[in-house]
Point group: D2
Chain length 145, copies 4
């Protein structure tokens, strides 16, 4: 059980941002005709989840095998340009800080090369039952950095 949540070890350069495509559907828009601002947090999280998955970390498996769960503790998001129905967004993930119990991800949502939204998301590791902070399991930390 030394690498419980790891399936396929990652080989990509951690210095380069990870990219995840997100299509805008009706569910994402609001009556202003654009993507509802809170939904970028969903897009960012989908991208972070796929970034972790690409590094061999499945969050369901992580929880089941180690009792650890990631939670968002701080978000800072700037909205520059709107996205619309049917737009195909490019959502990036870049690890910019990492500690033993938390890390910070820098993220952008772009459309056709133009920056729409960017944010910094701090994520902490907690025990799934008590919701108290705990160390990130070593193999997961290694996979991320």
């Amino acid at each position: 059980m030394s690498a419980p949540a790891l399936a396929t070890p990652a080989t990509t350069d951690p210095a380069l941002p990870y990219h995840h495509p997100v299509r805008v559907y009706w569910e994402d828009t609001d009556a202003g005709g654009v993507v509802f601002y809170a939904n970028y947090l969903k897009f960012f999280e989908r991208a972070r989840t796929e970034w972790l998955r690409q590094r061999g970390v499945s969050q369901q498996h992580l929880k089941d095998s180690t009792g650890a769960m990631f939670v968002v503790t701080d978000t800072q998001v700037s909205y520059r340009r709107p996205a619309r129905l049917d737009d195909l967004l490019d959502v990036t993930v870049q690890l910019v800080e990492s500690g033993r119990a938390s890390f910070v991800i820098q993220q952008q949502a772009l459309c056709q090369g133009q920056l729409l939204t960017e944010g910094r998301i701090r994520i902490g590791c907690v025990d799934a039952t008590t919701l108290r902070p705990r160390r990130i399991p070593e193999p997961v930390l290694a996979a991320m950095t």
Copy 2:
């Protein structure tokens, strides 16, 4: 802004529908300028939750104390007229069938007396851990009917 606030009638006569007010916010709308159709299922559920609460049933407490959880097993919904930002909806709840392990709720969403959406929702009782069907705890069944 002129729509009157709706008060929930204090009666618990099971033959009369229960009423729950729902305000339409940006989060509920889509780029068509109207409430996104899937969100009526949220409005209906909020109303069912308050109907249960008025009868003394808290779902979190139900789960913690008996291990029972309600799940939706079938929905039938017709969308007649759209709702828009700032509309104040009147969402009704009426028990139309009840068995030992499931029940059916008839629901409507109205705005200024006009029917917008109506549905029939079948709800089953399951064990929160195994997700297998189980009987509705007796006091809950008594409170509902």
Copy 3:
């Protein structure tokens, strides 16, 4: 402007269901540990949107060029088995009825070959400004059937 919303004409057999993959993220789940039932309507819609796109129909372009918009008028959904975080769903789309102003789509969500949820969704064509029923633009109808 004879085929305003059409880009790439479709060549696939309309008798076979279209398949669209949907990954389950945190945003899709609820405190029951499973996908929140209303979210299957989102999954179904994403799949319908991609089915239309594969047939050359972009809804944003359709609205901009013809003023036509699709709206859901009736849904019937049965929930058989739950989906969980990280599950990869296979969502199907099959046209089962088509008229001049509305059509019916049969849809399923499966996970590893097991049926989780299935539904019938009736969709009407309306004028995007008045929200009144109108005929489906001919090239769109042709692309669908």
Copy 4:
């Protein structure tokens, strides 16, 4: 079930925070058993909407009559403690900065007096058609400050 219903104080003293009650429903939670972090942005917006409404500003009416629309341009949110199903939250709204085309709202979500989440939301005024920045209509600015 024992949490008292919160009444909104009738005062319009801009120095005091406005209070808006938000009940946590299934739709708001995720598989971690707590409120999904992006949903606090919805709770904050519902409270801002009611704060504006209390001051006589309906956003739908604002858009229809002046062409002006509010958009969120920056958010900073810290998540301290989780909320759970059935919790009754007290969401506050306090104007902390106001300019001619944008303003900043400080917001908190509390449960039984404990701070769960707090944030600063910058909101800009735009033309609903072009989405370009514009001045906040004078009567709206006066109503807010």
